[in-house]
């Protein structure tokens, strides 16, 4: 397996503290738990933000950026592999939101709609980049080549995960990034990727199974490490 050298030594490098599912900090927990006063506030804030953007108020776009800009850029960076391309995609997304806000009917939340535009913009950019590569007869691999970014706690782990993500299908990668990295719930992901919630859960399961296989350390190596 190509990722053998970057295999993930689970027990050695990652904290064994098991994450409690209930403690997961979600952007829109109200969707899963039913409407609460806070959820109602969030919904009305979302609608107010959409209305302000529709009226052409640039401060509303600034508020949208303040709420989602960092996460949008991170998602775009993980899909495209380059911070510069990610910034272009996020900027293009804001312009698309501005151009088509009149057609937003509120069938999903404004944030979900915005992320759907972002994801489509990222894949348009990827396709465009692929075509340019084809014209230039570049034989480089299809998955995005990740550019270096701020070092984290486990740079090797991150690189291994990035390479493994590049080998997943588009939907598996999207669902994994949206759920595990960006912290969206399946109901929100279903709205963004236009699939059912069940399909989102199943796709995440398949993605994690594949990642587990790709990142699993070789048994012999693990045995040797354990004997040490």
């Amino acid at each position: 397996m190509g990722t053998t050298g970057l295999a993930l030594p689970w027990k050695a490098r990652i904290s064994s503290t098991l994450r409690e599912r209930g403690t997961r900090v979600e952007p829109s927990e109200h969707i899963a738990r039913g409407p609460s006063p806070a959820a109602v506030d969030a919904t009305s804030e979302d609608a107010a933000l959409a209305a302000a953007c529709r009226s052409g108020d640039l401060r509303a776009y600034e508020r949208l950026y303040a709420m989602h800009g960092a996460r949008m850029k991170n998602l775009a960076r993980n899909v495209l592999g380059s911070p510069a391309d990610a910034e272009d995609a996020v900027q293009e997304t804001f312009l698309k939101v501005q151009r088509s806000i009149a057609s937003f009917r509120g069938q999903s939340s404004f944030a979900t709609w915005t992320y759907r535009i972002l994801i489509n913009t990222c894949y348009d950019a990827r396709r465009s980049r692929m075509r340019k590569k084809e014209v230039a007869n570049d034989d480089s691999e299809e998955s995005p080549r990740m550019e270096p970014r701020a070092p984290g706690a486990h740079p090797t782990l991150r690189m291994a995960l990035e390479r493994a993500l590049g080998k997943l299908t588009r939907h598996q990668r999207d669902v994994f990034l949206l759920y595990e990295v960006e912290g969206f719930r399946h109901a929100e992901i279903a709205g963004m990727l236009e699939m059912t919630e069940t399909a989102s859960k199943n796709t995440l399961f398949q993605a994690k199974k594949n990642l587990r296989q790709m990142l699993e350390p070789p048994r012999a190596g693990l045995g040797a490490a354990q004997t040490r």
Binding site: R19, Y61, L95, G152, T198
Partner: protein, 221 residues
């Protein structure tokens, strides 16, 4: 809640918090499940390595500038279209329909004007004689009239003193024909190009010719 190794994948895919708690309790006594659960949860922890929410101070100003430029372009486009301000109240489909109706009205009006335009009455009417044809007709008519006058001169003695009732009738008939011929000639004088009048005049002359011939035949008998 009791779970075993067979429930593991189902719980990984869509387990409730209670099922997860039961699986973790089971994993405490099952090394295989413990490893799988640890690896599964470690993936979620590893995913956090892909989070980089560091702020870029120049990024929002760049987006804001692009949004403002786009907004200004839209305003300019709107101004350019302002002279057509009566149109935006119609949808593009209605605008197309109105344009179609306008084209139809112009086409029908043009056709009506073309087919109902005033024409020179003497130009295309086949019932009216052209000047050269008229001269031919008039000269032939004069010659024919002279020939009939000769016949009339021959029959004159019989008709002025009719020996029989039949001759008296012929005399009456010829007087009527002469009167009709005089009327038609007067009309033809006012409208010399009317071929229809010429045909009627010819018919009268022919009738007078036949009548005079019959008068002369009675004399021979």
């Amino acid at each position: 809640m009791n779970v075993d190794c067979n429930d593991r994948d189902r719980i990984f895919e869509d387990g409730t918090p209670a099922e997860w708690a039961a699986l973790e309790a089971h994993a405490a006594s099952c090394p295989a499940c413990a490893e799988e659960v640890l690896a599964w949860k470690s993936l979620s922890v590893a995913a956090k390595e892909l989070r980089d929410y560091s702020d870029s101070p120049s990024f929002w100003p760049r987006i804001e500038r692009a949004l403002a430029e786009e907004s200004a372009r839209n305003s300019q486009r709107a101004e350019r279209k302002s002279w057509l301000s009566f149109l935006p109240s119609f949808s593009p489909a209605w605008q197309t329909a109105l344009a179609g109706v306008l084209v139809l009205v112009v086409t029908i009006s043009g056709s009506w004007i073309y087919f109902h335009r005033p024409v020179d009455p003497g130009k295309n009417d086949k019932s009216l004689l052209q000047s050269s044809a008229l001269k031919e007709v008039e000269s032939a008519e004069t010659a024919y009239e002279h020939a009939i006058d000769k016949l009339a001169a021959d029959a004159k003695p019989q008709l002025e003193n009719p020996a029989t009732a039949l001759l008296a009738n012929y005399h009456e008939k010829l007087l009527v024909l002469d009167s009709a011929i005089a009327d038609l000639r007067a009309q033809a004088g006012m409208n010399p190009s009317n071929a229809q009048l010429r045909y009627q005049l010819l018919a009268m002359y022919q009738e007078k010719q036949r009548t005079l011939e019959e008068v002369l035949e009675t004399r021979q008998q």
